[in-house]
Symmetry: C2
Subunit: 389 residues, 2 copies
C-alpha cells in the first residue's frame, strides 16, 4: 500500500504570462529558436531587431526576388540592439530576409530560418488574405505531428532522413494513404513544414472534412550537382527513383502500417521537384496512381520540340494511351511565374497525347509568382482530389 | 485490368557519389542544413570554412567556456571562402563555435547549430573516446525517430511543442514506458536530440539489450525570467508542474498509447532542468516512480542550511519516510563541475533524510566539467536502471 503524498494544491487556473518561449509570435511553434527579432504590428508595420557591435552599420533586406529586394537601415536604439520599422510592404507569404552588418550578410539567430537557395537563411511570414486562415494553427482542433525518420539507404549507401507528417489523432493501427511530396530546387526536406506550414494547412483541411486524413513524406531530393549538367541530371533522377521506390516507400509502409497499392499513393512536387515527381510518377504508374506537378514548366515539351526521345515523353505517351492508370493528374502554374510562357507548348503536348482526357485531370492557374503563394494554393487544391474510395 | 508500364530497368546497384546532402559529415543526419563548413580530418585536425567579403578579417573561436576559448584566424583562400585548420585540440564532445567577421559574431549557415546559452549558435562534435561509439548511428540496427508534437496548453494558454523520441520499430499498438527529460537552463526542447544525439545513444543501448525500449519526451522548460528572481522562479515551477501533469502527460499517454502508472514513468533533467525535474518528481511520487538528477547542485541544501522551509525539503523529507514510493533515485555530478563543492552538503542532507537507503539509489561522479560529457554519461547510466518489470 503506497501512501499518497501530501503537497500543496496547485492552482486550477494560471496566468499565461510566463510560458516558455515556444512560438515565433505568429502562432507557429518553431523547431529550434524563439523568434522575437521579427514582428508584425497590429497596423501591419514590420518590426525588426538585430544585435551587433554599437558602432556597426546594420541593414535588413526583404524579398525573395533579390533583384527587387527592399533594404531598410536599422538604428542602434540601445547597447547594440538595432531596430527598424517598415510600413506599406506589399509582399505576401514567406519572404527572405537578409541582415547585413557592415555590408556582411549574417544570420539573425532570433528570426525564423529556412533552407532556401542552397543555404540556411532568415525569412518572415507576411499576410496573404487568401491563405492566412488556412495555415494558422487553430485551438479548437487536434494537430498533426512532424517526425524525422533516420534509416540507412542501400541506394545512396549512407543514412537518409525523411520528414513525415502524420495527421491529427494518428494511430499506427489505422491505415492511411501516403503522399510523397518533393521540394523545389535548392531547398530540402524541411521546406514543406518549416516555411510552408503544410502541417497546419493539412490539419485545417482535414478538420473541415475537405481532404482525407493522409501521411505526407518529404526527402532531400536535390542532387547537389550543377543542374544544367543534363546527363548527370538524368542519371541522378534514376538514383532518386531507385531510392524512393526501393528504400523509402517500403520503409514508410512497414513502419507506419499505411494503405498500400497505387491508388493509396500519390507523388507530387514543386518546380524541379515537380519534374522529379513527374519523372518518377509517370514512369511508375503501377506504383503511384496520383500525380501533382506544382508550378512546373514541364521540360519535356522542349525536348519534344527538338525531336529528341526522352523518358518524360515516353512515359507521357504511355499514359495517354492508358488513361486508366492515373486517377488524379494535377498541374498548376502562376501567371506571374517566369516559366509561365512555357506552359502553352506543354498544354498542347499533353492535349496531343490525350492526357487532358484523364477524368481526374486538372490544370490550375494562380495570380502568383514562383513562390510559396503558388505552392500552398497548389497543395490546397490537390489534396482534396486524392484518396476517395 | 491495368496494363503494366514498360520502363527501363533500373540498376540494382548504384554508386553513392551523388547522394543529396543529408548529413553533417560525421554521420548525424541534421534537421535543416548540410554541414560542410566544419570537418574532422583523419589525423584529428579540425578544418573550418566560412564565406565572407574578400577583404574581411575572419576568425573562429572554439570552446563552451568563453573564458578559455581558442581563437583561430581564417585565410581567404579564394573568392571569399575563408579556411582554417586547427591541430592538437584537447576539448571533447560538443563544443561551441563562434565565427567572427571583422569582429562581429555571426552564424555560419553550413556548420551545425544548437540552441545554447539562450541563442542559436554553431558547434562542433569533437571525439570523446568513452562515448563516441555510443552516439554513432550504426548501419546494422534499426533507428528511433524524433517527432515534433503541437498541442494547445490550457496551463500556458498558448500552443506548446514537445519533442518525442520513439524507439526503433515503434508501433503505436505496443505500450512503452515514458521518460520526461528536461534540458539545462538557456537550452530548449531540441537540446537532447540535436546536440546530445540522445536518439542514437538510446538506439544503441536498446539494440545491445542494455535498456528497455522507451519513449522520451522533451519540453521547453526554462521560464524566460531572470532565474535569480526567486519568488517568480518558484511560482513558475508550479506552472511547469501544472503543464506537465495536466497537459503534457495526458496528451502523450493518449496519443502514444503508453504504459501508465508511476512505475512506467520517469522524470529527469540536467542542471536547472534537474532541479525542475526534482521539484516536480519529488512532489508527485504518486505520478512518477523514478527520478534522475543529472549534474545538479541541489539548491535545497542551501535553503535548509538557512533554516528555511522549502518545497524541496518538504518533498525529500516525505520520501525519506516513505522510501517505497521511489524505485530509482539517480544523481550525478562532474568532479570538475563548478557546482561540485556544493555536493557534500547535499549528500549529507540526503543521508540525514534516509534517501540514500532507497534500494534504487545511485550517485555517480564523472571526471567531467558541467557539459554534454557529463550529461551523456548520466543518461547512459540512468536509463538501464529503469522500467524492469
Amino acid at each position: 500500500m503506497i501512501s499518497t503524498q501530501r503537497r500543496h494544491i496547485m492552482p486550477t487556473t494560471t496566468t499565461a504570462s510566463s510560458a516558455p518561449q515556444s512560438t515565433d509570435g505568429q502562432g507557429h511553434p518553431v523547431f529550434m529558436q524563439p523568434c522575437t527579432a521579427v514582428k508584425l504590428s497590429d497596423n501591419g508595420d514590420i518590426l525588426f531587431k538585430m544585435k551587433a557591435n554599437e558602432d556597426a552599420s546594420v541593414t535588413v533586406s526583404i524579398g525573395n526576388d533579390h533583384n527587387s529586394q527592399i533594404t531598410i537601415p536599422m538604428q542602434n536604439l540601445h547597447n547594440g540592439i538595432f531596430e527598424a520599422s517598415f510600413s506599406g510592404c506589399t509582399l505576401t507569404g514567406p519572404q527572405k530576409l537578409v541582415f547585413r552588418v557592415n555590408g556582411q550578410e549574417t544570420l539573425n539567430p532570433f528570426a525564423p530560418l529556412w533552407f532556401h537557395a542552397n543555404s540556411l537563411s532568415n525569412y518572415i511570414e507576411l499576410p496573404d488574405p487568401e491563405t492566412d486562415t488556412l495555415i494558422a494553427p487553430r485551438k479548437d482542433i487536434p494537430h498533426g505531428a512532424v517526425t524525422h525518420e533516420f534509416y540507412y539507404s542501400r541506394t545512396y549507401q549512407e543514412f537518409m532522413s525523411s520528414t513525415v507528417y502524420t495527421p491529427p489523432g494518428f494511430k499506427n493501427g489505422k491505415e492511411y494513404p501516403v503522399l510523397y511530396l518533393f521540394h523545389e530546387v535548392a531547398e530540402n526536406k524541411t521546406a514543406w513544414t518549416d516555411a510552408s506550414r503544410m502541417n497546419y494547412l493539412l490539419d485545417n483541411l482535414i478538420a473541415d472534412g475537405k481532404c482525407e486524413p493522409l501521411i505526407v513524406v518529404e526527402n532531400d531530393c536535390t542532387v547537389m550537382l550543377d543542374y544544367h549538367d543534363r546527363p548527370d541530371w538524368f542519371e541522378n533522377y534514376s538514383q532518386l527513383e531507385h531510392f524512393l521506390i526501393q528504400d523509402c516507400v517500403p520503409f514508410i509502409e512497414d513502419k507506419y502500417h499505411t494503405k498500400t497499392g497505387k491508388w493509396s499513393r500519390a507523388i507530387a512536387g514543386i518546380g524541379l521537384g515537380a519534374v522529379q515527381a513527374g519523372y518518377i510518377g509517370m514512369r511508375n504508374t503501377d506504383i503511384f496512381g496520383n500525380i501533382g506537378l506544382f508550378t512546373a514548366f514541364w521540360i519535356s515539351a522542349a525536348f519534344h520540340a527538338e525531336g529528341k526521345e526522352d523518358p518524360f515523353y515516353t512515359a507521357a505517351e504511355y499514359i495517354g494511351r492508358h488513361p486508366e492508370v492515373i486517377k488524379v493528374f494535377f498541374r498548376s502554374e502562376g501567371d506571374l511565374d517566369i516559366h509561365f510562357k512555357g506552359i502553352e507548348a506543354e498544354n498542347n503536348l499533353l492535349s496531343e497525347l490525350g492526357i487532358d482526357k484523364i477524368p481526374g485531370y486538372l490544370f490550375k492557374v494562380y495570380h502568383q509568382t514562383h513562390n510559396w503563394g503558388s505552392y500552398r494554393r497548389s497543395l490546397r487544391d490537390f489534396v482534396p482530389l486524392l484518396f476517395h474510395e
